[in-house]
Amino acid sequence: MTAILARLLGRLPIGWLQLLHNKTRLAAAVAGIAFANILVFVQLGVMFALNTTILLPYTLFDADIIISAADANTLTDGSNVPRQRSFEAMSVPGVASALPLFVGNVDWTRDDGNVTNLQVLALDPSQGAYVIPEIRNKIANLLLIDTALIDRMTRGADTDRLALISPDNPLTFETRGRTLTVPGTISIGGGFSSDGYMVTSDQTFLRLFSSRIAGAPNHILLKTEPGFNVDAVIEELRLLLPDDKVKVRTLAEAAKADQIYQTTERPTGLIFGFGVVMGVIVGLVIVYQLLSTDVADHLKEYATFKAMGYGQSFFMGIIFEEALILAIFGFVPGLIISSILYQLLNSATGLPVMMDMARPIAVFLGTIASCSISGAIATRRLASADPADLF
């Protein structure tokens, strides 16, 4: 290793030799950096899981445009939209069809007595074109009143039992005073605001939520005719509809806005965002502490080198060498442990805490950068001092 580094660097690998000389300190430094990495990975994992789950319900629909109340930030909050808006929208050239979407929440008391919270998405089951194929195949089952498809990824649910569900072997449960029959399942997965999802017909929805009326859905989904520019159609709709009452967006825009709202204005999102910031800061402090202590401990030796005619770039070279070695040595165990923690979190919470390709690269580069910057700051003292004052 020493010989390889010597060849690579074209000089003695002093940083490496320095690290190797004190193995206890090296182990502590590697553990510190691994810990900093784990901290950041876990916070990022949870934050990205939140971001992902916010988008999930939007991915169930196959629609171009969504009309929501002006005060609605998510699928569930805000006022209702009068169904009359869908008729108005239909008058705009390029709008092919419109579908009211109802959203609510029910409790599902499972066989084992535990209660989970399901977000209900309800629509006219004859409009299969508005949902993704997985649901489209099963939506005909919802033509019967008091039937529902439930999310087999629902947090805490008995997945073995849910896997057996079919029209011939349905599940039944009671909620809001009605008995629902579940002839099939869908796969979505819970998030921070609900444990899972349930899809029903609009008729079933209105029976479950007696205070809701058919004339006031939560949102209206639109499909455009082929050949029409969606953005142009949206412009037309915005001109037609009062913007103090409703907002017209593409489905993707609405999903993105929901994500931004939930991550920057809602407590959960803020807490996890804050967690990432804290993780990064704690990581930076650990790394800075490590590198600056190391520089301080070798100041006498560096001063000697300086007296011999070595310039600041030489010391930066040593520090970068150390930073790179520590970053690599700390990253590998950090990544492995984080991946294990992701799996534990995943199975414990049902949240999609998953590693993607970009995150390790970002964390690794961030570690190298913070190690290097910390080292560079720590060597500043060396740059300004007379060598004779450092012995």
Binding site: G10, R11, L12, I14, L17, Q18, L20, H21, N22, K300, E301, A303, T304, F305, K306, A307, M308, G309, Y310, G311, Q312, A383, D386, P387, A388, D389, F391
Partner: protein, 236 residues
């Protein structure tokens, strides 16, 4: 006075330590011309300013007042880059050995060569051989792969001497280099330094109290309370 005959010339050199109330002058109006190829010894009681003077003329301290001409270059107001280059022409042997604890004896000496990078005529692969050879001359042939922690005080000092000499410096500054050495190896080291002076014209400025070394000196300068009080050329 040319840089060649007098590699070190100081004029009106003053130096202070501390700031404000605590400001205290350590060097007073030192005017000095040191001849090339000679062994000049600096003497004086503890605290008289020997180390301070040595570090001032050796580019290790900023010159605050007065002038230091080193190898034809003015150090007063010199840029950091110029100082870095100037230091490469010098060899320093410190009062404490100042070896790098993580590097072996051989590696410590090699660092003294690597500072010259590729500009040195020798190739990098020859650095090791040259370093080992010098350590051999200083009686450390079978200790070259030892870490400083496993060497005696005298052995460490000899490694530090090898490190200072290995780059063929024009001037060697030595601050009590023989303090940790026994009588015999102390004399051996000084003889080696004198030999270098004769063969290569290396100038040596050495702080010492050692009587045996005084006998070998070409010139003895005595400091007291930051002033030169005595300056004797010794006829050889």
């Amino acid at each position: 006075m040319t840089g060649a005959a007098f590699p070190i010339v100081t004029q009106g050199l003053n130096h202070w330590f501390g700031v404000g109330e605590a400001r205290k002058q350590a060097i007073f109006d030192v005017n000095l011309s040191i001849e090339a190829g000679k062994l000049t010894v600096l003497m004086g009681p503890s605290g008289s300013g020997k180390t301070t003077l040595l570090t001032l003329i050796g580019c290790l301290r900023d010159v605050q007042d007065g002038s230091v001409h080193l190898l034809g270059q003015e150090l007063y107001g010199a840029s950091e880059a110029d100082l870095v280059l100037a230091r490469r022409k010098l060899g320093f042997i410190f009062q404490a050995h100042n070896l790098h604890e993580s590097l072996t004896a051989l590696q410590n000496v090699r660092v003294g060569l690597e500072v010259h990078g590729a500009s040195l005529s020798g190739k990098r692969s020859q650095f090791e051989a040259a370093s080992a050879h010098l350590l051999g001359l200083l009686g450390l042939k079978d200790r070259i792969h030892y870490l400083p922690g496993n060497l005696s005080g005298g052995q460490k000092q000899r490694v530090a001497i090898a490190r200072a000499l290995v780059g063929n410096p024009r001037i060697i500054f030595a601050d009590e280099p023989t303090a940790a050495l026994d009588k015999e190896s102390g004399t051996h080291v000084v003889r080696l330094l004198k030999q270098l002076g004769e063969q290569r014209g290396t100038t040596t400025v050495m702080v010492t109290h050692d009587n045996r070394i005084l006998e070998m000196a070409d010139r003895i300068i005595t400091l007291e309370e930051g002033r030169i009080v005595d300056d004797i050329p010794v006829a050889s």
